[in-house]
């Protein structure tokens, strides 16, 4: 089975991330970006017959798609939650294409984001009943620092196995900050140096403050339409050319190797479906909750050999002007991580670049993008190839 050119992303909308959630609601943010994406695609609300939602991290509510459908007064024939953590957006994109290909619907609205900030993110959770999960029994008693400590453990082992250095990891944050400088919507835009990254506080060895995302408020939506609808879109269609997904467990102590992620399975599936290889790619738009995430993803997707990610990011210019443009919106590290909409930012940026409307940071002749969504501690992976 192939999804190649079965569907295209035609409309996108994204809220500029904000440090504070003051005065905003998740449903209100979703409505705004949904409206924007439908308008951008040149569609009417009644055209939307599919709805996929990536739930907010900070607020557990049942039946989110029904709440949003009601709010938008749309009546999808296909509605679902997609929760693959940060891989949800890329996961929604190919699920939408799959539903379209099977004839379930023709225009799927994919929505993410939340009203969140540092205060609400770290506030003690309400006293709600907790499920008996192995993670809670065998990991939580030892004081993990959320996802931070897991990615730090990946980085520590990567350094041990391959000699990866702190300076190499820091280079990812530095180049992405240069990109954010050309993105008026990014949360952090001031130039950054490798030395500044390495002299920012150590939070979880070997990761420093500037190598770690921060929670914020924001949202993003995109519309995936069928091949027959795509040509009449208001914008250049960004075609889904390839997709692949792979998952593993949520607890790092349970995985075979912490330095190899399921990207090693999901990316080859996406490249094979698209009939292209990493050397053909004009834009790399990959999940970057931490600097190490980018290095491991580049290796496992085949942009360089396993273990060679450190020297690779050091040798290549990852800015929008460079030889390997990567996370040209600034990545989540500089643009911001508004819940699962952080992972949507890699999809929207790829669409923007393919449509030629990335403004100052536009990559010349950007025809082919590799997108990777990543959830958990590199446990869920969804890879896409998008193109003209």
């Amino acid at each position: 089975m192939t999804l190649k050119r079965a569907a295209a992303i035609t409309g996108i909308a994204e809220m500029a991330p904000r440090a504070s959630a003051e005065g905003l609601s998740t449903l209100g943010i979703w409505a705004d970006v949904s409206r924007g994406a439908i308008l951008d695609a040149g569609l009417e609300p009644s055209d939307i017959d599919g709805l996929l939602v990536a739930p907010p991290i900070v607020d557990m509510v049942a039946m989110w798609p029904s709440h949003l459908g009601e709010y938008l007064d749309i009546h999808p024939r296909y509605a679902n939650i997609v929760d693959l953590g940060g891989a949800s957006a890329a996961g929604m994109a190919w699920r939408a294409a799959s539903a379209i290909q099977s004839g379930l619907c023709r225009a799927v609205l994919c929505v993410s984001g939340e009203a969140s900030d540092v205060d609400t993110f770290y506030a003690p959770r309400a006293k709600r009943p907790t499920q008996q999960l192995p993670l809670r029994e065998f990991e939580a008693p030892y004081g993990p620092m959320g996802a931070n400590s897991g990615y730090a453990q990946i980085a520590m082992r990567h350094m041990h196995e391959f000699g990866t250095t702190g300076r190499q990891l820091a280079k990812v944050a530095v180049d992405q900050r240069t990109n954010a400088g050309a993105n008026p919507d990014a949360l952090y835009r001031d130039p950054l140096t490798v030395d500044e990254v390495l002299s920012s506080p150590l939070i979880v060895d070997p990761l420093h403050l500037y190598e770690i995302v921060r929670p914020c408020t924001g949202g993003a939506a995109f519309v995936v339409v069928s091949a027959d609808l795509a040509p009449s879109s208001a914008q250049t269609p960004a075609w889904l050319l390839g997709a692949g997904e792979a998952t593993r467990g949520v607890m790092l102590a349970q995985v075979e190797s912490v330095t190899t992620s399921p990207v090693a399975q999901s990316a080859p599936l996406a490249f094979e479906m698209a009939g292209v290889t990493p050397v053909d790619i004009d834009l790399v738009s990959v999940y970057d909750c931490y600097t190490i995430t980018v290095v491991v993803t580049l290796e496992d997707a085949g942009f360089c050999e396993k273990g060679g990610g450190g020297p690779f990011v050091e040798e290549h210019d990852l800015t929008y002007r460079g030889d390997l443009p990567l996370n040209t919106h600034g990545g989540q590290l500089s643009f911001g991580q508004p819940g699962l909409a952080g992972g949507t930012s890699h999809v929207t940026e790829a669409v923007r670049q393919i449509q030629g409307r990335a403004g100052e940071r536009q990559v010349a002749d950007c025809e082919l993008a590799f997108v990777n969504g990543n959830g958990g501690i590199m446990s869920e992976q969804a890879s896409l190839v998008l193109g003209v």
Partner: protein, 136 residues
């Protein structure tokens, strides 16, 4: 002091009780599959490798190596704030399985990947003992 944040403690299930009982008795017990000999951790109702339900609790050595670790310098959970900096690690047991744990009994700065460690049983105020490790 009653609203002092408390550390999350394991809530043993009937399935996992023998593991926690073992730690309280000062020994490390893992499930082992009678059909395929695989060690199984965490406790499960069947062997994930061969689906056999013939899992037997077996005492193991408690020896292992640090597979990877981090030093937590800012705690997420308020109850861990007095402990920083502390080592949150994954130890690979001699018998194969890996466990999330803390390495104690040395400075965080002295921990290394592949360092040999041995189990110790850290009894909490609530009576349950946690599996931790110290340099071997």
């Amino acid at each position: 002091m009653s609203d002092q944040p408390r550390k999350p403690l394991p809530r043993p299930s009937p399935l996992s009780q023998p593991f926690w009982d073992g730690l309280a008795a000062g020994e490390l017990r893992l499930q082992r599959c009678a059909a395929c000999d695989a060690y199984v951790f965490y406790p499960r109702p069947h062997c994930p490798h061969c689906l056999s339900e013939a899992l037997k609790w077996t005492r193991v050595s408690g020896r292992g190596r640090v597979y990877t670790y981090t030093v937590v310098r800012r705690a997420m959970h308020p109850a861990f704030r007095p402990d920083v900096p502390y080592v949150f690690a994954i130890v690979e047991l001699e018998e194969g399985p890996r466990v999330a744990t803390n390495v104690i009994g040395c400075s965080p700065e002295d921990v290394r990947v592949e360092m040999p460690v041995k189990a110790l049983y850290d009894r909490t105020a609530a009576g349950i003992a946690l599996l931790k490790f110290e340099p071997a």
